[in-house]
């Protein structure tokens, strides 16, 4: 069974600094996707970034980038120039690229931005 582990229940960072959130996963599949979702206090689940397992290049979306280490089954999220609006729960998620493609989530990391 696929599992996703986020070992940092909480993280904090100073505004304008850089923070990295960790995620590891376990799968025997070779074709899959990885995601980071953000859940602010509004409760809405917002897709931050996604990575296809077959792509070696790390995905980047503005201030958000990932470090995808396929052999190590590691998928960390780096947030640069942190802003107050980045404060949220961040969930790492995995889905296999076939069938229903359900998302398997990690436990989440609560990110606090200190002004």
């Amino acid at each position: 069974a696929q599992t996703v582990t986020q070992s940092q229940p909480e993280m904090s960072v100073q505004e304008a600094e850089t923070v990295t959130l960790s995620c590891t996963y376990d799968t025997s599949e070779s074709d899959y996707y990885l995601f980071w979702y953000k859940q602010p206090p509004s409760r809405q689940m917002i897709l931050v970034i996604r990575q296809e397992a077959y792509k070696q290049q790390n995905a980047t979306e503005n201030r958000f980038s990932v470090n995808f280490q396929k052999a190590a089954k590691s998928f960390s999220l780096k947030i640069s120039d942190s802003q107050l609006g980045d404060a949220a729960m961040y969930f790492c998620a995995y889905s296999i690229n076939q069938g229903a493609q359900k998302l398997v989530f990690g436990q989440g990391t609560r990110l606090t931005i200190n002004p």
């Binding site: 917002i46 897709l47 229903a100 359900k102 998302l103």
Partner: protein
């Protein structure tokens, strides 16, 4: 325009009652899901429908019954509500051939 919308946003009800949560998506997606987020924020799949056909049922008690009248709608009916059903329920949808799922704003269900 809201892409994936759920109603109601909040639902408070007594044990033993029956309630429904509705979900609609206007994205033209053909796969829809229900996820449950418990009090510790853990998210887990409950059901998935593809073109109105149930394709995932993740060991959910049969008090929970999803219904998909058409591709754009996936409702969740819960019978004989229990205290442990209190959670946030998220609807999501995905387009075939695309990896990312889009979520509704969630329904916070509180059973008292």
């Amino acid at each position: 325009d809201t892409a994936v919308s759920q109603t109601p946003k909040y639902l408070v009800t007594q044990m033993g009652n029956d309630k429904s949560i509705k979900c609609e998506q206007n994205l033209g997606h053909d796969t829809m899901y229900w996820y449950k987020q418990d009090s510790k924020k853990f998210l887990k799949i409950m059901f998935s429908y593809n073109n109105k056909e149930l394709i995932i049922n993740e060991t959910v008690p049969n008090r929970f019954s999803p219904k998909s009248p058409d591709k754009a709608h996936l409702n969740l009916h819960i019978n004989s509500l229990e205290l442990g059903d209190s959670a946030v329920y998220f609807c999501a949808s995905r387009h075939r051939g695309r990896a990312e799922a889009f979520f509704g704003q969630g329904t916070r269900l509180t059973v008292v």
